[in-house]
Subunit: 243 residues, 2 copies
DNA sequence: TTTTGTAATATTGTCGACAATTAACAGGCC
DNA sequence: GGCCTGTTAATTGTCGACAATATTACAAAA
């Protein structure tokens, strides 16, 4: 990535970095493979790559004007985050999940977001509480006026915030990874205003539980939140026969 | 890994592969980087590498008689599993955790093993039930006659079995990864016969819950199992001032 | 003795080339 | 016509060399 311009094959719009990312401690200088992984990863979770699409090393290398070495490592990083699958001697492709797998992914996410909520409710870090309140405000606002994309985005970020608030680095990384992998499908589950209103109420409940110093209630609220999301997403996938 | 001999720097004993491994579906042909990662990973979780020890690419390359390319990828794989940490331009080192991080790791493990137990209890796959019974038998036997190492090993494998029994691929991989990362410390928590007896009783309880078709009870039993393990391990670490 | 600056060394990062493997395709055979 | 098989093209896998960077050793000064 010698020149910051790059972007030739990928869609022209360079609105990368919309999404937070990776186990990166914060804003430190990322290595070349990490930068590449970040760009491609963002493209994937934003849906600019189709599920199942092959990613060829040389293509990416040309695109970023580097050799295949760093690209190879970038693909390994993306594999770690579940965004691509690498088959030996067959290259990498954007992860493609069937309904059952999406369900499984959400199942784990439900459990871990519950844990994160409980831990966050136990810690009650002032800074976190403030961000949480602001986030729920934003979510409510968008639920009334915004569109599905904006809402999904806001909820996504609130999930990351909650994971941060747990104060558990490992949990944080796992929730981040799961959020990335399921973003595509969460979006599907928030496409109707009705669902967004329901989701918004859940977030308010969760916030109340955290503020009310009720870790157990917070856990349950967070679990319900994701469970509702899953139920809708899976139902829609089944109807669409996206098996 | 042209020659199966290798092993020069690493301790002579080549009792690798004692531990199950990786998201590998089963016994399929592993790629070269995967093979290397597996060998080094086994060495790490068996404690043949000290925490914090640096792993130099050229050393490993010489050891396996390959170039640094595959080694680099192997290290990325190990990073994914949390066994090594890679710092840009500073190379890889065996992950070293302080007490707080060990606690955090177990916290997540408690939650996920609980989920695995619940799912396994809901599925009740006949083959899984049989293996589970056999495993608990084995554990009981070793609790009476065996030593700490044998017991730790048996319990470790039972954890993997439980993860498999959940039928959830993503959960399985996460539990595997967590089991690898915490094996070192679990061993610490099972060093007294008293603790092993307690652990054994927990496993019996879990088995009973699964057989008794009580998912909720299974979840709680599994959580208690790992929680007890964590409590002892963390307590011992604190005493040792391994901060 | 401790600290600090500089040089030497060791190690990681990246590259381009070649080897090995897989996938695509054309031609022959049943 | 469909299926097998050998050839060709495309793609991944591995390697050794060089560049960039970090670590260490050492010496000089405080």
């Amino acid at each position: 990535m010698k020149a910051a311009k790059a972007a030739s094959t990928a869609p022209a719009t360079d609105f990368d970095m919309v999404y937070a990312w990776s186990p990166s401690p914060s804003a430190q200088t990322l290595s070349l493979p990490e930068q590449i992984a970040e760009r491609i990863g963002n493209a994937i979770i934003q849906g600019r790559y189709e599920p199942g699409a092959r990613i060829q090393e040389q293509d990416v290398a040309d695109q970023f004007q580097v050799s295949r070495g760093p690209v190879r490592e970038a693909l390994r990083i993306l594999e770690r985050d579940g965004l691509v699958q690498i088959h030996a001697r067959r290259g990498a492709q954007v992860t493609q999940l069937n309904v059952g797998e999406v369900n499984d992914l959400f199942e784990v996410r439900i459990s871990l977001i519950g844990l994160a909520a409980r831990l966050a409710a136990e810690r009650r870090d002032p800074e976190f509480l403030a961000k949480m309140r602001a986030g729920v405000e934003r979510i409510s606002e968008i639920a009334k006026n915004g569109d599905a994309d904006a809402y999904t985005n806001a909820v996504y970020r609130q999930n990351l915030l909650l994971a941060e608030g747990s104060g558990n680095r490992f949990l944080r990384n796992m929730v981040f990874s799961l959020a990335h992998q399921t973003l595509r499908y969460s979006r599907l589950g928030l496409s109707t205003p009705k669902r967004r209103a329901q989701s918004m109420r859940n977030w308010r409940l969760l916030l109340a539980a955290i503020q009310g110093n009720a870790p157990k209630a917070a856990q349950e609220a967070a679990e319900k939140l994701v469970r509702d999301s899953r139920d809708t997403a899976v139902k829609m996938l089944r109807q669409e026969k996206v098996e």
